[in-house]
Homo-oligomer: 258 residues x 2
Amino acid sequence: MHNIKLTIEYDGTKYCGWQKQRVKRFGFKKKKQKLAIQEAIESCIKKVLRQKVNIISSGRTDSGVHALKQVANFKTTSNIRPHKIKLALNGNLPRDIRISEAESVSLKFHSRYSAKSKVYRYIILNQDHKSPFWVNYSYWFKFPLDIRLMKKAASNLLGRNDFKAFCASGSSVEDTTRSIKRLSIANFNYFSCNAICIEIEADGFLYNMVRNIVGTLIEVGRGRFIPKDIKKIIESRDRSLAGPCVPAKGLFLIEVKY
Amino acid sequence: MHNIKLTIEYDGTKYCGWQKQRVKRFGFKKKKQKLAIQEAIESCIKKVLRQKVNIISSGRTDSGVHALKQVANFKTTSNIRPHKIKLALNGNLPRDIRISEAESVSLKFHSRYSAKSKVYRYIILNQDHKSPFWVNYSYWFKFPLDIRLMKKAASNLLGRNDFKAFCASGSSVEDTTRSIKRLSIANFNYFSCNAICIEIEADGFLYNMVRNIVGTLIEVGRGRFIPKDIKKIIESRDRSLAGPCVPAKGLFLIEVKY
């Protein structure tokens, strides 16, 4: 038995997310179901290895969320070398999913349980017009944002906190305490656009946590909240006090650390 | 009469280029003609200003070529302020074309004749797998390239030369002498990809000149040509001695200087 670890890059625009969505049984019209990234990869592996496998990822990503280095693993009895598996998968996968690495790892390795921390990046396009190149990869926010205030606010989020106020309502997770190890905010100018790049590293993330944090930081940047409000929001454990959830398309899973 | 100067950003993937292509009259099947970027903008201006205008760009770009700061101008009797024109156009243009600036300039200004130099960027994705994010914005070259040799070769292209060997055969231009003011080659790593970015500034470009130069530099980088060969190729004025023309999708017009 071999345990194969894959590092995966994907443009999430056309997918329903990492995992297959359960079809809701009510309603008359059947909307065409979007494919899940996991399904696309599993069906390719089946074609290449002639074995049905179950791949485990470091965690799900939502519809529209992208990944630069998602990690997933699967167990197989096939003796095909990881490098050959990578080549064969990349020859068969749709063009918006690519395997950047494939390696054989210890049988104990589990993409989700072995992960020590994950890093997400969120891109805000902060200029008066949209950009043709960033439509699917950023959230366009046209009003000026004070990045200095956003940085100040961010420092209040660092460390071990109960992030219930930043967790999507309806989530069934009981323990909402997480540790944010790093939260950086920087201007960047690439492809002649003005953007703000927010990176968050934590030992784990609640449902919609990054997008709710970014939405809250934007409220600070535009002057609706002051940096000190962050502490009150954390203490309240009340989702309705934090800022709105920003769109999925600006979010990238950029690293999983083991 | 006002002369309006537009700075335009576009993703050229779905267009036949800046200018409308002449339909060839032979053959049976009529292929669906792709839209030209110029047409898309002119029809929007007509809608916004209720006037038919003729816009003049700094130069055509081919099908698939992108622009970060293409410049074009048009004359109009309309008194609508440039800032309002920009907003109205951006509200009506397809999402892969955006106006980043609109300003009123002297009546003498001509996007093409007033240009002093233009800057193009070419992106080579140089890694063993394609990237979902760069499919339409780079040329994927999977074999290793020696960037040190490419830089050496590039220095032989600088200055005033007859670039006939780098001009698409069949071009009717008589004077093929141009001045390359700057040619930079650099590695860059963005969105977790390994790429090489080549930027060329010149007082003017022959048809396919950038793409033929890049194709020739790749031949140097992979070891088929040595840097010294460049001088011989220039002197030969023979297109067949230079490297191949690389795909349009890696090319960006990034600036027009006046």
